[in-house]
Subunit: 200 residues, 2 copies
DNA sequence: GTCTATAAGTTGATAGAC
DNA sequence: GTCTATCAACTTATAGAC
């Protein structure tokens, strides 16, 4: 983000608005209103328009705050460094990804239900977007492959899609169903266990 | 749906509204308005409230129209019967699932961005919901396993999650990025190829 | 069952004082 | 930069005629 903040931080209204927006987005989804956001942030509604131009600008800012994280390997991998044992490493990856997806579920939901936001995302697809998560995970698999812990016939991007898909799937169902999701979903261990023979 | 339609079909306003709602949902997401829906369906706005009570009732009806399909094996498998060759069968499953997910992406998006809809879904989780897709896919794997084409150590539900996760992941990225998604995503063949050693 | 007309409330956004 | 005050447009929903 090149334009982040030029001059003084002033009174942190911008930050308060971003935080409140994220909060409301999680509860009300895209039915959020600038009025409600202003109330929660404890600022005047017009300040939102001063800082972000319009509603779409605000949403774009909130989304832009999170989507680059997809390209950040350490976040995607849950902040761990690979231990060497393939199964426990993959479990850590899936667990980390699942936690991450669960957290940004409201943002993903917003992208999926607003065509304007989708257009914006498609335009900046080189810099931001959930698809960028494939890269760091595929890279991890390449590293493991070079270390001889993963078979060299494995397509790293395909392997990454499988790991990410499983994590996202688990996160989505947990988000939709709440605690009851556990009854329907296979545990992470089982998923990694099922996938392992394809990797080693 | 027990209450579907009691008396005569009358003039099909109800159906026209459902169709229009789905259309608008795909374009505008949850920012849809009853006014716009009525315009597209060519009916009076008040007819919507006559048939569905309120906005939420309308959304519930549209969603309820699609979510049971998740439990329908033939749809989930793309209308094909397994041929016997595991790789081509799995490819058909993933392709069918991907097409299905791509089509109901707006509905999935709505569920993810509206907490009221999520609550409704959680309440009826026994009958409807995307999590029900796990069952028919897992069943297919069990059948293949009994036929000796899939290893008997495979956890069928975990295998189903991997297949579904990959298909959903591809569908979501295609939905978000449009045609450009192909540049980022591994082809279905590669995904199935990567997963195959875990199954046989 | 479907319509027209209407109501009360909310929305995103702007103008202008400080 | 932040506020108060204000706006026109639009929102969901209802009443009542046919």
């Amino acid at each position: 983000m090149a334009d982040a903040r030029r001059g003084r931080p002033s009174t942190g209204v911008r930050e308060a608005v971003l935080k409140a927006t994220e909060e409301v987005l999680g509860e009300a989804g895209l039915a959020l209103s600038t009025k409600e956001i202003a109330r929660r942030a404890g600022v005047a509604e017009s300040s939102i328009f001063y800082h972000f131009g319009d509603r779409l600008g605000l949403l774009q800012a909130v989304i832009g705050l999170h989507l680059p994280v997809f390209a950040d390997a350490t976040v995607v991998l849950g902040g761990r460094t690979p231990s060497g044992d393939l199964k426990s490493d993959l479990t850590a990856v899936v667990t980390g990804l699942e936690r991450f997806y669960l957290r940004i579920m409201p943002i993903l939901g917003a992208l999926q239900s607003d065509s304007q936001l989708r257009e914006l995302l498609a335009q900046r697809r080189g810099e931001v977007g959930p698809h960028l998560a494939l890269q760091p995970v595929a890279d991890l698999l390449r590293t493991q492959c070079a270390a001889g812990r993963v078979r060299d016939t494995l397509d790293p991007t395909a392997g990454a899609l499988l790991l990410i898909g499983a994590a996202h799937q688990r996160a989505m169902h947990r988000y939709l169903l709440g605690a009851a999701a556990t009854r329907f979903l296979p545990p992470v261990d089982a998923v990694v266990g099922a996938l392992l023979p394809a990797f080693e």
